[in-house]
Every structure is written in C-alpha cells, then in structure tokens.
Point group: C2
Chain length 320, copies 2
C-alpha cells in the first residue's frame, strides 16, 4: 500500500506539499503540482479517506435522521429514495449514509448525534418549527433540514397548479382529501386549496386523510355522500388517490368523466394507475440538502412541484 510519504519522496517534496497538492487545499507551485501528480499516478497512489477524515477531525458519515412516530419509515418510499440519493452523493465524497429514526421527542437523540465523532453531517427530516430550538449548537454548521423550513417541495404551488388545471378543464366542485392535521407538511396543501377555492368562489369540501389507500376509499365515499355533485377529488398522496379511484370504481362513478382525480408525489403507483399527480425531485432535494450540510451552508430552498397529467383527470400525458 503506497502512502502519501512514498509519493512525496518520489516527487522530491515534503509530505506536506504532497498533501496540499493532492487534497487541493493550500498553495503549491505549478512545478510541485506537476511532480506530485505524476509521482502519484506513477505509483498508483490512492488516498486513504479514513486517515484523512481522522486527521481533519471530521466524521465519515452523513446521518439521515428521520423523526416519526410510526415504523412507517421502512416502507415510506420517500425516505428510501432520499436515502439512496444521499448514498449516491456520499459515495463521491468518500462518505457513507446512515439512517436513524428519531422519536417525536428527540432532544436526547439530537444531542447524541452531535456528540458522535463519526458524524460528518446530519440531515433532519420530519421535523417541525420547534427544530431550531432543539438543534444542538454542535450541529449548526453541519446539518440541513429536508421539508419544513429547509429543502422542500413547493407543495403549495404544486397543489395550486393541479387545482388550476382542474378549474381550467371545467371542474367547479372540487373536494380535497387532506393529510392529518398534526403533520406539519400537510398544512401547505390545505392552505393552497383554501386560498384557491376562496379566490375562485368555489365551495370548500375537505376531508381529513392519512396518506393511506384505505383512507382514500373511505374519504371518497364520504365525499360523494356529503356532496354528491362533486366533480373532482384532489388527494395529497398517490396512495390515497388510488383508494379514491378504487372506491369510485366500486360506486360506478366514472373517472374522469364524472369525477377527476389527482394524487401527489408521482410515485410509481401514479404512473401505473394513469393517475394525474404532481412530480417532485426527491432525489435532487435530498442531494441538495446533503451538499448543503457538508458545505456548512443553510439549505432553504423550494423545489418545483410539477403537474403530471394523466388519464385520471383527462390528461393527455403518456405513461412516462
């Protein structure tokens, strides 16, 4: 195993200079640069990331810390997609990703993360407005938030775009199957809906949901029972929308003829069911947050939520 010392010796410079050249940080003359470079690849030198991180006093892993009450994490596609995306980014930096679930009350867990010397950066997900108060100082320059006030989907705009499309195609009695009230991320779509129907002078028709298919079935039945003339149902999750479609089909209601249906997140479910949805760059969001956390910068940014029109609302789009 050839080490930096070997490269330095062969290049006729000191280890420090070799380090500066190879790690790219620190001054070095063009001459030194060239000699170190050529010595390095003459020797087939491969840097030792662990030694480097150790010397720098930095950690080697990015922890994706998901706050959630249920065990739903394992099955939540959003989480696993994010984890995979971060794992791919991490690879290029010689790092790795660890996934940890935090209880709702996560003060001590955050403290532990802050004290863990192997942690290079922390990506927080599932947190609410109380996070800043809880975040240990030691995590300040090396953490980023996904969702909430960090890197997030502009779900308000996404829902708004879907609503505008429905309105433009003649729907006037639009119901929404919302998320649970206690989930912070569920408020934005609801607000967007409220604003839209108020502006357009449409009736308000909302039912609480929980992102599941089963709940979507129930919600659809309730909506049609309460407001039989409903001509569109907007669900804030694809799974819920699938449940809606299923219930409508069982009731003999035609989609999109009688009722248009939309989902949210553009999961494989949506494409398979020809469900209109809103597509979100989950991978890009996660990668962006990881990058920000590693850089030490703030990660406040909204990513576009784009409508993906499919058959469930008379859309013209193909499967894709």
């Amino acid at each position: 195993m050839t080490a930096l010392t070997d490269v330095a010796r062969r290049a006729g410079v000191s280890p420090a200079t070799a380090s500066r050249v190879l790690s790219g940080s620190g001054p070095a003359s063009a001459d030194a640069r060239a000699r170190v470079r050529s010595a390095a690849d003459a020797l087939g030198y491969r840097t030792h990331p662990v030694a480097r991180m150790f010397a720098r006093g930095r950690g080697t892993r990015i922890v994706l810390a998901i706050r959630d009450a249920n065990r739903s994490i394992l099955s939540d596609p959003f989480v696993s997609r994010a984890a995979a995306a971060v794992a791919e980014v991490a690879d290029t930096a010689g790092l790795g990703v660890a996934l940890r679930r935090l209880p709702l009350d996560c003060e001590t867990d955050l403290a532990e993360l802050a004290a863990d010397r192997s942690v290079a950066a922390v990506l927080l997900a599932g947190h609410d407005h109380r996070l800043p108060a809880r975040l240990p100082r030691a995590l300040h320059g090396r953490s980023a938030t996904i969702g909430a006030a960090g890197a997030d989907v502009d779900s308000g705009a996404g829902i708004g775009a879907l609503l505008r499309h429905l309105h433009a195609t003649g729907r006037r009695r639009i119901a929404m199957v919302a998320g649970p009230r206690w989930v912070a991320a569920a408020r934005t779509p609801l607000d967007a809906y409220a604003t839209f129907v108020a502006d357009a002078g449409l009736p308000v028709r909302t039912v609480a949901g929980d992102f599941t298919t089963a709940r979507g079935r129930v919600a659809a039945r309730r909506i049609l029972r309460t407001w039989p003339d409903t001509d569109a149902i907007v669900a804030v999750s694809d799974a819920t929308a699938l449940g809606v479609l299923d219930a409508l089909s069982a009731l003999g209601v035609r989609v999109p003829g009688d009722v248009a249906v939309t989902g949210f997140d553009d999961s494989p479910l949506a494409a398979a069911a020809r469900l209109t949805s809103a597509t979100h760059p989950v991978e890009r969001i996660a990668a962006y947050a990881a990058d920000a956390a590693l850089r030490g910068g703030e990660a406040r940014r909204l990513f576009p939520s784009r409508p993906k029109l499919r058959a469930s609302c008379g859309g013209t789009d193909s499967t894709a």
Copy 2:
C-alpha cells in the same frame, strides 16, 4: 472531548487496558472491567469510531455496488429499499452506506473498490454467474452478493405458490408475462412456471416482458389475442401486473371473474390495486447480506416468497 486516555487515567489503568475493555477484544480482569466501565460513563466517554477504524486499518463504509445497464437504479424501489435497510444496519455499526452503479463490464470498478481503503464491505447486486471470476481477492472476506448465488428471494417457490393457488381455485389456462431473457434473475420464475404447467398438464403460454407497466398492457392484449380462453395471468412484477389489469379492464374482461391476475414483489402498487402478489423481505435480505459481508462469512441463503392474496385473484386478504 474526552478520549480513551482520560478514561484510563481516571480508572487507574493503562490506555491499553481501557481499550481492551471498551472495545471488548482482549483479556481484562473483572476488576479492571468494572473500573473502566464506570470511569467511562462517569466521564460520558464516547468512542471515536473513525479513529478506531483508522487504527484497525478498516474502512468506514459499506458500498452497495449495483450492476446495471440503464439508469433505472434511481427509480428502482428494490434498490432504494435495500439501500435504506443497509443504511439502518450500518448506523448501529458506526458505518455508512454508499451507493455506486457499475457498468455491465465492471472489472475495473471492482478493482477500484478493492483498492479503496475506506471501504469496509461491498454488497454486490445485479451480478451473474461470472461474478466469482471477476471478484478481486482483496474483496473476498468482505463482500456479499444480493440476488444470484447470494442472499436471494426464493422466487421459484414464490411463483410456484401463486401457481398452486391459481390451480387450486380452478384456473387451468395460465399465462405468464416473464422478464427479459437476458436478466439472470428472470429465469427462475420462468423455470418454475415451466415445471408447474408440465407437471399439471397445462398449456404453456408465455410472453416476454420487461417489468414495466406499459409492457404489461401490451402483453395482456397479446395473450388474449393468442389464447382467448386464458383464465389467469401471472406477471413477474407488480408494475407489469398493473398494466395487465389496466388492459383487461379496457377490454372489458372481468378480474378475477374471467381472468385472475397476480404480480410479484408486493410493492405498494399491489396493495393499492388489490393485486395478489408475492411478498419479499427485501429489507431483511439486504440487512442479512450487509451483516454477512461485515462478518466475513458467505451469504448464501434463500428468503421466502410468500403469496399475498388479494382481490385480483379472488383472494380473501385485506389491504394490509
């Protein structure tokens, strides 16, 4: 930051002893053990995983190396689920996961992985029977295979169980939408199907697919055109089965009345569409492989593929 030295001093022992106690490897008297332990948590000592790995000369990350021609990895739920599962296992070991995609011809990539000093273990996925020949020696005690001859789903048994169920419920003209011929993992289901229909004296009806929904639609139409009396369609992926369902519905064929349909993998798609499928412990498989790779043992093991009966084949199961 309190280090091992501090603990040793407070416990009145040498750093070496403290190390032996805390790392659990090496002899230590009960007395020393106790004193070190109490000193450690009196001081709130937290080990420094990076320093430890560095001293041991081991890496800090598990690389999930997926071999695949297309870019489908990012969107493949199987991969992201596996990544998330491994990331969760890694966390408990103070490690992290990196995700890397390898081209079909991956000799050099494997060599690079073997030379990377930050790599603790490698998890190979998407490889075929030529893998053993390609695997660098340096990777021998620290790698495991997912799929192929490693930790895999017993898909033959899974397909067999689905076929038996269909047969037991009266289906006698069962068609299969298979996977692409060039995908190694697609052969097992096909063989299981061939064996089953031969044994049961049923007609052979297979159509090649590619795991996509779009292809499922095409396949369903082709099947009904070629063999109009088909009474069951077995697809080797949920997405494909969804396409089948969709096409059948468009053709006015009733499910499960006229034709029963089954998928494979029990993805969220299946639950949402009330599709009978076979459920696989992807997370457990990935975790098992990770564990095996870290231990240095071989990881040859088949995990059960269990039928999940739902409405698409007259099943009684609830949504779940």
